[in-house]
């Protein structure tokens, strides 16, 4: 028994020695994950404490679920759920079909150079920063100098204070988002389109299908599995909507429709320094987002199996 154990041990040691270099290479990366991803997960306990900067996380007093009950019973809570889900859903509904339609149109284009030009230009917004995109939007929508209001005034209308009217916030958010990502997101569909069986098109021509009918009966079914997978994965991200762009576009007047979990946590925590309360809101968001993503992944696995027959 002892002999067996010692050979096992020496086997393990010789294995370690053989693979030593591999494990050495892993050290910085794994340390990085432990320190910057797993320690913060442990740091979530701050949500159950009354955080005091001078005492640090560990020495601050425990207060149990107090932050959570305060958060969930506050009027902010339902507003945040509503805003986050609505903004995520609108973004999905409008930014999801755009790249598909664009990819199909581009795929149908028969002039190589024009096609190349359109694709080249369409990817450019993906490189521009969110700050710049939002800044462009604010400029164009400006009530006194922006071009949109210049057009409205030209036709005799009154200038609209787009950034100051809550009803415009989601529209502005979704349009700028769609502008930024449609060309980049189309790449994946364009690659899927190259895999559609060309003999199906010939067969459809023989059956007397026109171009539009071919798109409906050959092209779209050909990329449908990809569309479904992407759609399900995107549903998973509805709750994961980031605070970056909201923080750039919102202001106190539009908070009631614009504030989402991400921006709320940022403002409560980093601007108002209410760390424990913000961490509780953040943990709630992380958990719900996790459930969304995991469910979507399960669905996509299930669905992909069904769709690949």
């Amino acid at each position: 028994m002892n002999v067996l154990k010692s050979t096992k041990k020496s086997n393990f040691l010789s294995y370690l020695k053989k693979k030593r270099q591999m494990y050495i290479l892993l050290i910085p990366g794994i340390l990085h994950y432990l320190i910057f991803r797993y320690i913060p997960m442990g740091g979530i306990i701050v949500a159950f404490k009354d955080y005091d900067i001078y005492k640090g996380i560990l020495k601050s007093p425990w207060i149990g679920m107090e932050n959570f009950t305060a958060f969930i019973s506050s009027p902010d809570f339902w507003m945040l759920i509503k805003n986050t889900v609505l903004l995520g859903t609108y973004t999905l509904l409008f930014t999801f079909p755009a790249p598909i339609i664009f990819a199909i149109l581009l795929n149908e284009l028969r002039f190589k150079r024009y096609k190349k030009l359109v694709q080249t230009v369409s990817i450019f917004p993906a490189m521009i920063s969110m700050v710049v995109i939002c800044s462009m939007a604010v400029d164009m929508l400006s009530p006194n100098k922006g071009i949109i209001n210049a057009v409205i005034k030209f036709f005799g209308g009154n200038p609209i204070y787009f950034m100051a009217e809550p009803k415009w916030f989601r529209t502005i958010y979704v349009i700028t988002e769609a502008w930024a990502v449609f060309g980049f997101n189309a790449i994946i569909y364009l690659s899927a389109l190259t895999n559609v069986d060309t003999s199906l098109y010939d067969a459809a021509s023989i059956d007397g299908c026109g171009r539009v009918k071919k798109i409906i009966h050959v092209t779209i079914p050909g990329i449908l599995p990809m569309i479904c997978t992407m759609f399900i994965l995107n549903i998973g991200n509805i709750f994961k909507i980031g605070p970056d762009k909201v923080i750039l576009l919102y202001n106190p007047i539009t908070y009631p429709v614009a504030d989402i979990f991400g921006s709320f946590v940022y403002r409560k925590g980093l601007v108002e320094s209410d760390y424990s309360y913000a961490a509780a809101a953040g943990l709630f968001e992380s958990v719900v987002a996790f459930v969304f993503v995991i469910t979507a992944n399960k669905l996509s696995k299930h669905f992909a199996e069904n769709s690949l027959w």
């Binding site: 359109v118 400029d139 100051a164 940022y266």
Partner: protein
């Protein structure tokens, strides 16, 4: 299937022309605004001059921010590439004990994280605040990029590795002399992802940097944007010698110059990178 232009083609060409215009228009608008004296676009040529650029380049704020952005981007990109490469390589070794556990540990962070506050408090307690450390080190090994590269390494035939091992090459040697040269297209894609992310990031520097002399361009732009938004919500209408919009848009144009210069590379490697990602998905 010889070319015969039908109605569909005509409609398609026009539709895509609209798409083209929708993308290009805001960019042209920014350039025109940056050159305009009043901060708005007009048709008279006398409305345009280079004052805003001269003003910006002669002050220290924007050139310094530009320099900071370059430093952060280069450091972030090289550190990220290095760390992702040395971590992805052992993880691509299917025989490595503990590999599955480590992969799961890394993948889990893509689905769940501690949130903004715990990592903020951690970075604060590490003493990284208001330094380049805070905006680069905690984000240097992103899981998605790591997995992309690991997949790429796995697709390299293991015979290459075995043959080199027979010749007595060390793992370091195999990685740097065989694997890295073979994965060069993928590494270029990752480099561009990193560079784009770092150049464009504003929230992280905004959160972790406090002295103005360390701000990157995006934070300067964000400040200008906030001022503008305040104006267009009707809070303040201040007159200045050069319209703030012109200054802001000139700064935007300057911030986009490196992107335009790198664009041919972006276009090439973005597309190939997405293809690789798609195959994996």
């Amino acid at each position: 299937m010889k070319k015969k232009i039908d109605t569909f083609d005509v409609v398609n060409i026009i539709l895509l022309f609209f798409v083209l215009m929708i993308v290009i228009f805001p960019i042209i608008y920014v350039v025109l605004c940056s050159l305009s004296k009043t901060g708005s676009v007009s048709f008279s040529l006398s409305n345009y001059n280079l004052d805003s650029y001269i003003n910006i380049l002669s002050s220290s704020k924007v050139p310094r921010a530009f320099k900071n952005s370059v430093i952060y981007t280069l450091t972030g990109t090289f550190l990220g590439l290095f760390l992702v490469t040395i971590t992805a390589y052992p993880l691509a070794d299917k025989q490595l004990k503990g590999r599955n556990f480590l992969l799961r540990m890394i993948a889990f962070t893509m689905f769940f994280n501690g949130g903004l506050i715990p990592i903020f408090l951690l970075i604060n307690s590490l003493g990284f605040m208001d330094s380049i450390w805070a905006i680069i080190v905690p984000w240097a090994v992103p899981a998605y990029e790591l997995m992309l590269l690991r997949n790429y390494f796995e697709s390299i035939p293991s015979e290459m590795h075995e043959a080199a091992e027979m010749d007595g090459a060390s793992e370091y040697h195999i990685l740097f002399k065989i694997y890295i040269p073979m994965a060069l297209p993928m590494l270029c894609t990752l480099a561009l992802f990193f560079a784009r992310g770092q150049w464009n990031s504003y929230l992280v520097p905004l959160m972790y940097l406090s002295s103005a002399k360390r701000f990157p361009l995006q934070v300067i732009l964000q400040e200008m944007l906030i001022q503008d938004t305040a104006k267009s919500t009707g809070d303040a209408l201040v007159g200045a010698s050069i319209a703030t919009e012109s200054l802001k848009n000139a700064t935007i144009v300057i911030s986009m110059i490196p992107l335009v210069l790198m664009y041919p590379l972006f276009q090439k490697y973005f597309i190939s990178g997405i293809y690789v990602g798609a195959v994996k998905g």
